[in-house]
């Protein structure tokens, strides 16, 4: 066989059909393929999307504005759902003790629940990723300190930590200004109680990735640790983070609801799903079940769909299960 230089290209055959652009690449990906073939993932994604859209456009689609005192009449209070005896066609899911339309309060409540959920997931994710990257990449005592804090935090239930942080923040803010900062207090307390999972996962992946040769190649050209961490290592450890984030979104929404149910969350004037369930809970045994059941069902469906989506994502990203 004669000696040929650099002729390797000639015999190469393109591998994938020429998918162009980010959208094309996404549609060509294994993840999209697995998504379109999983009915459960499709349905849960649809439900989540529907809920998010409903929450986003609540002011447009809600039949009433539950926060406008002018439109609320105490005479309409405790009306059952429209299909029941004594129901009113104006209030599909009935009204609460102040005459607010339950459907509208749910739509507006979901806004707050989802906002707190998303914000606290983003916050805990940023915190966990940074601490995990630092612990995994630098190692040594930095690693020990961060991971011991994580270990200690893991021995307490997340809700307890959220309650603790919430109490401290509440005391620091004072009773008057509390209503204004309540959103941030909730995000802070839920976010701080959930970072550990991200931190530990990222650290584990970093320990694997940092020894791969592409990281050595980056060190070789004198790049600093932060550049390497964020430009090289981070994109390669994001897969598991995405899975945790999805599952944690459901957890964060439930935690917010729990805090609100316990009375330390958002106030009744700006109710979230948790607050609504708490308000309705008082009337459950006097027969006005709809005030608490409908927000409860909404919360359950939302959390379940997000969770199923997270489960699917975990399986789809784990090549061993495929």
């Amino acid at each position: 066989m004669p000696y040929v230089t650099g002729e390797e290209t000639k015999a190469r055959i393109p591998v994938s059909g020429g998918a162009v652009g980010a959208l094309g690449r996404m549609r060509d990906s294994d993840l999209w393929y697995s998504f379109t073939r999983s009915p459960l993932a499709l349905v849960s994604a649809l439900v989540v999307a529907l809920f998010v859209l409903a929450a986003l456009f609540a002011p447009l689609i809600a039949p009433h504005d539950p926060f406008d005192p002018g439109s609320i009449s105490i005479l309409d209070s405790f009306l059952p759902p429209a299909w029941q005896d004594g129901g009113d066609a104006r209030f599909l899911l009935g009204t609460d003790d102040q005459g607010r339309d339950v459907l509208s309060t749910i739509l507006f409540g979901m806004r707050i629940s989802l906002a707190v959920g998303f914000a606290s997931v983003v916050f805990s994710m940023l915190l966990g990723i940074t601490l995990g990257l630092v612990a995994g990449y630098f190692g040594g005592w930095v690693d020990s300190v961060i991971m011991r804090i994580a270990d200690v935090q893991l021995t307490f239930p997340a809700i307890l930590i959220a309650l603790l942080i919430n109490g401290v923040a509440r005391a620091m803010a004072g009773p008057q200004s509390y209503d204004k900062v309540v959103f941030f207090v909730l995000v802070l307390s839920i976010g701080l109680s959930f970072w550990v999972q991200y931190g530990r996962t990222v650290r584990g992946s970093v320990l694997v990735e940092a020894n791969k040769e592409y990281v050595l190649a980056a060190r070789l050209i004198g790049l600093g640790p932060w550049t390497i961490m964020f430009k090289h290592v981070l994109p390669n450890v994001l897969g598991p983070v995405l899975v945790i984030a999805t599952i944690n979104l459901a957890l964060a929404i439930i935690t917010e609801a729990t805090l609100s149910f316990l009375g330390v969350g958002v106030p009744p004037t700006q109710p979230s799903l948790g607050t609504l369930i708490r308000i309705g809970n008082d009337f459950l045994f006097s027969g006005e079940w709809w005030i608490t059941i409908f927000p409860g069902i909404t919360l359950a469906i939302l959390a379940l769909s997000v969770n199923l989506l997270g489960d699917w994502l975990r399986d789809a990203l784990n090549p061993k299960l495929r």
């Binding site: 650099g6 070789l220 390669n236």
Partner: protein, 344 residues
Amino acid sequence: MTVAGEVVETETVNSGKPLVEVKGLRRVFDLSKPWLNRMIEREGRILLTAVDGVDFAIKEGETYALVGESGSGKSTIAKMAVGLLPPSAGSIMIDGTDVWGKKSQDTERRMRRKIQMIFQDPFASLNPRWRVGAIIAEPISAFGLISDPQDRAARVGELLSLVGLDPRDGQKFPHEFSGGQRQRIAIARALASEPKFIVCDEPTSALDVSVQAQVLNLLRDLQERLGLTYLFISHNLAVVRHVATRVGVLYLGRLVEEAPARDLFAAPQHPYTKMLLEAVPDIDMEGKDRQSIAGEIPNPITPPPGCHFHPRCPVRRVECDVKIPLPLPVGDATVRCHLFDPSP
């Protein structure tokens, strides 16, 4: 090809002065358990001497091959030579600069530009989330060589064609390439900073034979064209024979033999080198029986005393298990073996 003149201003190749000088190189790893465990379990420290007093020099434009089996310390030397792992003792001088000495940031950058590395596993050495073009462009921007994005892209295309790929391949991701093509991309990245010295750490051991030949030929071709100096790490003697000008044979961290490639393959001196050569499979089927080497490589944490090779050595003498042999000149070679000791 447009490259020859522009890539490296090679002055006089083979001028005879060493580009790389390694002296008394030593590296000890601490494998001990944490302090608290040691106190409780009453265990001492566990130290592993991976590299033990290694000296060699590489002339400009030459290929120096380090050969050894697992635990020989060859990859540790490679990492120290490129500045990824600090040595415990000894020095590495590259083009007059001490790789591990104190120096200004500017000198450090200039030195780093001159040193590059090609890794063993082409599936781990390219960031899977980056496009090939970005991977190759990274050293160019890191060293601030070309600031204009268009010129940089042109340079990336040039590098790709230099290693036998299509300039348009820069748009693709690493997973779209085969192992051999990926190794070409890794070579293009190594060339991007216009280095003088490239450490090749088992660059073909993860590749299939037919592709191995392509990559070895490419490395030789680039050396001739760009006047590169290689440190070539390998466990495969047949491969080394095709690339090396000088060879060092490592056994448990010590350089047991060091000789011009031709001499080493024609007349190996150290008993270990002889055995290694005899253990190479007889592909030509000349009927030569492959000699089995007795025993296995000892655990490097507890190496045998004296000459590390003595428990497996067929010509061992009384002093071999007590006295560490010193490097002795035998013709053009340097051999660490008591057989050549003039004062037995």
